[in-house]
């Protein structure tokens, strides 16, 4: 039985893979035509693509940019491409694009929302990309105040007074730090809210009225309105959601009950009812004469709504963390807030990225619901444009345009989240 023992005397060198396994042909063979079923599916898919393209391509190829009404559009298409040909009437977008972007914002001040939009990217950049200098985060922190001031105008001292509320809250936090661990955040929250409600307004009124001409909320509209509501909602729903998720897991029964009650109530109610409450009912409860801005009310409702979902998404991330992470942090002597901020949350948020971005995207698209309470976001504008006799009957072009713009934003968020997941992966490199 000496053929059982065998040793290799020479090691094999690497060889190039066979031609059928590489290149475009290899790829097609492997992915599109590997089995008969695959062949059938490939052919069927190509057929479906062809069918769609044969309708969509001519629609856009025949599009009309210069016309002043829908009927004129159709005449031009019929004249140029023959009776019965379809063609997009993009003239409506050419005519109304300013409205789509700025609503009824005074045309002289278009630079203000535009500048705010550009600065938004400057503010977002250090948040989104950790390779940028951390000092840029200071701008991110003051950006909300700057954006508010640019959009609504008024005295510069109003946003400053609001910001001082955070300073007051921070001071309260430091002062209360000597007390038990629940006290600092509580003191900070109470002081900040009291400052905003009772001190910020009078303080700003005392100081001279230096600033930009004010613009009314009812002049807001179009994508600018969607962006304002969506971005603010996104920015505030995440921290609020984190707090609610922590509250729901808290040992303090009172905190826990409030969090659970809030989350379950808000999740159990359709957003549209919250918006209707914001638009009609809140004024009944407010003291007569107070003017609580409608956009602010909507932002609050949208934020609360998204925060409830966010809290549940983040709770999922927290639940997925092994108990050893809490114990590791505890055993090193980190206190609750340090452990949460440095060890628990970074990991829980990372696990929750897909769910968080899902909630962001949902929130951003839900901003179109404000059309129902009479705000002229892009969808609200479509209704009003179609009510105009010149554009009566036009459907595809308007909804397609608005849908396309929303798609760009949402797809961008989705791609970013995938980039972030890749970058935060630390298990293999």
């Amino acid at each position: 039985m000496d053929d059982v023992a065998w040793t290799r005397t020479e090691m094999l060198g690497p060889e190039a893979p066979p031609a059928s396994a590489v290149g475009i042909v290899g790829w097609m063979r492997a992915n599109l035509f590997s089995t008969w079923l695959n062949v059938i599916l490939t052919v069927a898919a190509l057929g479906a693509i062809w069918l769609l393209a044969s309708h969509i391509v001519p629609f856009f190829a025949h599009s009309v940019w210069n016309a002043s009404s829908y009927s004129e559009c159709r005449e031009i298409v019929a004249r140029t491409w023959g009776e019965g040909a379809s063609g997009a009437c993009l003239a409506v977008i050419r005519e109304r694009w300013k409205q789509f972007f700025f609503g009824f914002y005074p045309a002289d001040y278009y630079w203000r929302p535009t500048l705010a939009f550009i600065l938004m990217f400057v503010a977002l950049a250090p948040v989104l990309f950790s390779s940028l200098p951390r000092k840029m985060l200071w701008f991110s922190a003051i950006f909300p105040g700057v954006a508010y001031w640019l959009l609504w105008g008024g005295s510069i001292f109003f946003p400053i007074a609001i910001y001082l509320g955070f300073v007051a809250g921070y001071v309260a936090f430091r002062v209360a730090e000597r007390g038990p661990s629940f006290l600092p955040p509580l003191a900070a929250a109470v002081v900040t809210i009291v400052w905003w409600l009772f001190i910020a307004g009078p303080l700003a009124n005392l100081l001279p009225d230096i600033g930009l001409p004010a613009v009314q909320s009812k002049q807001f509209g179009g994508f600018m309105l969607s962006m304002t509501i969506g971005v603010t909602g996104i920015a505030f729903s995440l921290p609020l959601g984190v707090l609610l998720a922590l509250g729901r897991r808290s040992d303090m029964l009172f905190v826990k009950w409030i969090s659970v009650g809030f989350i379950e109530f808000i999740r159990g109610v359709p957003l549209i009812t919250l918006l209707l409450v914001a638009s009609f009912l809140l004024n009944i409860f407010m003291p007569p004469g107070t003017n609580f801005d409608i956009i602010l009310r909507v932002i609050i409702m949208v934020t609360l709504f998204a925060a409830a979902y966010m809290a549940e998404v983040i709770r999922g991330g927290l639940a997925a963390l092994p108990r050893g992470q809490y114990e590791g942090a505890d055993s090193l002597g980190l206190n609750y807030w340090q452990a949460t901020r440095l060890v628990i949350m970074p990991q829980a948020l990372k696990i929750s990225i897909p769910g968080i971005v899902n909630t962001f995207i949902g929130l951003f698209k839900d901003t179109t619901l404000v059309a129902i309470i009479g705000l002229l976001d892009p969808v609200g504008l479509i209704t009003s444009i179609r009510a105009n006799s010149a554009w009566n009957g036009i459907v595809w072009e308007l909804y397609g345009f608005v849908g396309f713009m929303f798609f760009i934003c949402c797809f961008g968020m989705s791609r970013y989240s995938q980039y972030l997941e890749r970058r935060l992966r630390t298990d293999r490199h």
Partner: protein, 268 residues
Amino acid sequence: MADTHPVDASDLEPVDKSALKVSDQVAIEIIDMNKWYGQFHVLRDINLTVRRGERIVIAGPSGSGKSTLIRCINRLEEHQKGKIIVDGVELTSDLKNIDKVRSEVGMVFQHFNLFPHLTILENCTLAPIWVRKVPKKEAEETAMHYLRKVKIPEQALKYPGQLSGGQQQRVAIARSLCMKPRIMLFDEPTSALDPEMIKEVLDTMIELAEEGMTMLCVTHEMGFAQAVANRVIFMDQGQIVEQNEPREFFNNPRNERTKLFLSQILGH
């Protein structure tokens, strides 16, 4: 006990135990301590005094309460009756005291519990920076010092997920040491490791013992106990059943349960 891989005392670096001093100072004092999980009485009348510089190995069958006992010492678990005094600080529900004790007591877990989102270096500097308020640069120097000591300074910038189990456990030890603890607790530090990695972790622990660290160690590595410990404690059903210095403990066990346990764990 299927997951234990006893390492022979002869495999480990020889320790001159007489050179290891035990002082008269008390590091940990546990008096009539009892703990329940709901109705279940896990720890019953535990009395234990650990002096500074002592190296205690805690052994016992699965479920006997070994982990629970050492987790009570840094209050990862709460006891319901009796007293635990660590370094003169009594553990009560006072959070400030708990954080103080935890920052003085290092703990090494069976599953390492490194923070996977931080690099090895960041794992080691996190607590010194935030709890001890050490400047970042100084914390990094200390961390590198201890990483060199556990023989993996070259891994400092990697993430825990990229290291082998034995390396991760050594990082976990270094991470605890960076807080300059006066007491170290080990809960089965080698039982999640492959046999060839056990020795590297045990060697690190032996070095620590030689430097006079007060150590409480739950382990099934009887070779380690023989080489390093100056006292072995045997637990069963939530009670301390027997304690003795290692030679006596292994050669002349007195309690029937101890005899049974030793015959199972040593009699291959």
